[in-house]
């Protein structure tokens, strides 16, 4: 057994190596896909890759189990003289190892091919379509391999069981295993069970009177002590924070972190400092607009539920600072929500710039004029007074 131990480790390494390669390839696939949709991480992708790896790991484990079973079986067959059954089993084993190795090689090869195809514009949950289908394919393939291996292991186990180990060997094993468990649970051993058998018989069901497992009993005490301490800490003079205290602390921490970040950041734009951005900024604004604003203002800004943004008429002022303010604080009474908690100041500036860039374009189905003529903030809207009053409320 000891000599074959080295062999097993070597085989495990050999089998594991392609898996490592495979993981590395996957990581390479992951990077471009991530950047295109999610800025930090794409959990679906990571999930799928992990699944691939986990399945791969199970293939390795199953494969090794099968190999070890094979050794056991071979040894047994040698001792019991070879039979046609043994040949069959060895063939099965060879086939199994071959299959698992082949599968892994395929996976790795396909993975290597994947990055080349990565810049496909179609995405499924933020993963390029090809990569998505590839991963799904890999998962299916791995599942097939796992099923095959499982079936093979079952077959071999059956073959092994057909010639069980000698009685004495099995018995000694059993005793050793149970004694630790018995001590752990303070169990009366099966042999002495009759001593603690209660005299009742319920439809053939008897009851033993074993002690409570000590770890269970003391665990129970521990939870009770924990409960008392918990209640004391939060409600009876222990000064534990209430839900409200926790909230205040969380907000304060968040605000401090935000202030610290904004203090040394160029992103700190507000309605007083906002300026029209360059083409890159406008494009960024357009991207946000298409996903978030188009539902109410139409994809081309022609309006729908919300007003037309392409004409020179404005409900709340047409200067970039006015538009910025409208997006930032919203006009909740009229249905425009405040977006300051959804987008960063720089994103709001990008949006405002994009909206301003729409002026004079010809939308497909423009909504009628609403509000006052305000050509880039030249004319004074009639309801200027009202607008300022509202915005002070909104900005409080």
């Amino acid at each position: 057994m000891r000599t074959s131990f080295h062999k097993i480790i070597l085989t495990a390494l050999g089998l594991g190596f392609p898996a490592l390669l495979f993981a590395a390839e996957q990581a390479a696939v992951a990077v471009p896909a991530e950047k295109s949709v999610w800025t930090s991480f794409n959990a679906v992708l990571i999930g799928l890759v992990c699944l691939v790896l986990i399945l791969l790991l199970s293939i390795l484990i199953l494969g090794n189990t099968l190999r070890q079973l094979g050794f056991v079986y071979r040894d047994k067959m040698r001792s019991e003289r070879s039979t046609p059954g043994a040949i069959k089993a060895v063939l099965l084993l060879l086939a199994a190892t071959g299959i698992s190795k082949m599968a892994m090689a395929q996976d790795a090869a396909a993975a290597a091919a994947a990055p080349a195809e990565a810049p496909v514009s179609n995405f499924i949950s933020g993963i390029p379509k090809f990569d998505f289908y590839f991963l799904m394919g890999a998962i299916t393939l791995e599942l097939l391999v796992i099923i095959t291996l499982t079936l093979l292991i079952r077959t071999v186990v059956r073959l092994l069981n057909a010639q069980p180990e000698t009685e004495t060997a099995a018995a000694t094993k059993k005793v050793i295993k149970i004694s630790f468990w018995d001590r752990f649970n303070k169990v009366v051993p099966i042999e002495k069970e009759q001593d603690i058998m209660l005299d009742h018989d319920y439809d053939g069901i008897r009851e033993l009177d074993n002690s409570l497992p000590p770890w269970w009993k003391y665990g129970f005490y521990l939870t009770i002590v924990t409960a008392v301490i918990y209640l004391w800490y939060y409600h009876m003079g222990g000064n534990g924070p209430s839900s409200y205290d926790e909230y205040v602390a969380e907000v304060q921490k968040g605000e401090e972190a935000k202030a610290a970040y904004l203090a040394k950041s160029a992103n700190n734009v507000d309605e007083n400092t906002v300026k029209m951005l360059d083409a890159a900024g406008i494009t960024a604004g357009q991207n946000i607009f298409q996903t978030t604003c188009a539902a109410c203002h139409a994809k081309d800004g022609g309006g729908g539920v919300g007003p037309n943004l392409t004409d020179d008429y404005w409900l709340h002022g047409g200067k970039i600072s006015d538009v910025f303010k409208s997006i930032k604080y919203g006009w909740v009474d009229k249905g425009m929500k405040s977006w300051k908690d959804d987008f960063s100041p720089i994103q709001l500036a990008q949006l405002a710039s994009y909206v301003k860039s729409l002026q004079g374009t010809k939308p497909a189905a423009p909504k009628e004029k609403q509000g006052e003529l305000d050509k880039d903030g030249q004319a004074v809207p009639a309801d200027q007074g009202a607008a300022t009053k509202d915005s002070t409320i909104a900005s409080k």
């Binding site: 930090s40 679906v44 999930g47 069970e193 009770i224 924990t226 972190a257 904004l262 539920v305 300051k340």
Partner: protein
Amino acid sequence: MDNTLQTEKFYYDNKIVKWFAYATILWGLVGMLVGLLAALQLVFPVLNLNTAATSFGRVRPVHTNAVIFAFVGNGIFMGVYYSLQRLCKARMFSDALSKLHFWGWQLIIVCAAVSLLAGYTTGKEYAELEWPIDILITLVWVTFGINMFGTIIKRRERHLYVAIWFYIATFVTVAMLHIVNSWEIPFTWMKSYSWYAGVQDALVQWWYGHNAVAFFLTTPYLGVMYYFLPKIANRPVYSYRLSIIHFWALIFLYIWAGPHHLLYTALPDWAQSLGTVFSVMLIAPSWGGMLNGLLTLRGAWDKVREDPVLKFIVVAVTAYGMATFEGPMLSLKNVNAISHFTDWTIAHVHVGALGWNGFLTFGVLYWLIPRIFKTNLFSQKLANWHFWIGTLGIVFYAVPMYWAGFMQSLAWKEFTPEGQLKYQFLETVTQMRPFYMMRSIGGTLYLLGAIMMTYNLIKTIRAGKAVNDEAAEAAPLAKTYVEHSGSHWHRWIERRPMQMMVLSLIVVGIGGLIEIVPTFLVKSNIPTISSVKPYTPLELQGRDIYVREGCYTCHSQMVRPFRSEVARYGEYSKAGEFVYDHPFQWGSKRTGPDLARIGGKYPNSWHFNHMYEPSSMSPGSIMPSYPWLFENDIDTAVMGAKIRAMQTLGVPYPEGFDKVANVELMKQAESIKQNLAGDKIEIKSNREIIALIAYLQRMGTDIKLEQKATTASNN
């Protein structure tokens, strides 16, 4: 011990067990199929079929009610009717009551399915059924109780075995929970309002909801386990002492843990803490059941390797252990802050439902059917395949849901360095779809296994012949009983079923009383907010539509005091805001965003378009469309009755308001119609969508009025 007495001959009633077994299989398949439909609807919203009866909000309660009360319910009765007779050495008390119980329960199930799909719901999870069905449930449950106690009283076995303790506790506790939580005031023959409002309703509901898990899905099944596991493995139960301690500790502690469903909500902190600590203390008593089950198998593990029945039972008991360890962990406030409202909860309950309840039921069925039909199981191999496919199904179900829950929570809470929420809610929804797909695959596998079992059992039934009345004999109880010296003190109560029932009721009553009574009586628990006013008639109608369509199955109405939730939804929810909410609609899952502060966030026209075709306003949304709301008229005929019911419940509508409510309703509806017309939308003012918009626009706005008032006075 009573050898002097002559034995009596009698027959066990197997027929009723057989019927309950058939019903278990049938409703199991139906319930799982409906669950699969609901799961697929979240991936492909088109499967909502644009009709009311097939939309997710109605299908999901059918799924939960079907698997809990129809599948597991019939499973309980199958197990109880089989084991109780044998443990009491007596035939069931009355064949007529058995039949009444069986057909009554099936009638309830059919009524439940039809009424839920038709939109009759109380809006309280797992207690959705309306008042006539609630009464029917009470009657049938009492029938079951009489039948059970009748059998116990005419028993030929002096002491009650542990399984029967669990059955007794189940009977009294479920009766108590059902009656208290379903207390409601009817205003039509199929509609009622919950007697309780807001925070109080939430507390009573989750006291019920949590203990429906405890006393419908757990204690009766523990009883079933205590009979079938030692019987099948042919091993003595591991520890009588453990049975006693874990039984009493379990039923005493379980009842307190309900508030862990309401952590960080507007429920007072002290009640939340009780929920947490009692959940933590529950670990050991729950594990007591698992240990007593698994350690009973000592010396029988070789059988487990061979016998599919034992395999099912072992996985069931292990799943029970996992779920009851996870539960207390989810009750810790810091874990709950992450897990609550996400798919993590869904994963957790399905480990319990698919693993514990499902697998134990399958195991018992595979053992029971061949016995009743005096034959062997048609195919052990097929049963083994069922075992593996079912296990795989559970894994494929749970793992993606755990993953999804983590993702949701992380994405909902993440801020950018600039202090903005990183993800729009909708982004987190579209990211879920692959996980929902994988979950559906897991569910399909599980259902496939159940279908294989059905085939296997039908073949078995065909091969055998039912022994409807199984002969047995036992000596009757002696008139007087002489106690053995030195017998265990607990034997005393095991001879007294009635005292056992009363003591169980007292033990389970304590927790509920201590938590519920102060919440109702102590005013400081729900501080009044003066600007919170009753709903207008139109809003009330809208709210009833919200309840009817099961919006609460996907949307919460509870902004928890977290920075991320206040930034996303607005001011966190206060207890005083819900005082007129009969029933409360806090929800337990956010497949869609929270709606507690939806009022005034979007224009009326946005809601109009969104309800007609959600993806027009929210591209990628998986919400169903509600076209029927644009065709149905508001049911103004019951307006007066609704107002009067609310007045009875203490909602301060002025005297005689029920007479003028419809005038008010039409006035408000007209103004919404005009407002929509401003956005070029034509709709009659008496359509249901108008009422729903009125309700949505009202939600969470009262507190804003107060804040405006206070800022104005400060200026």
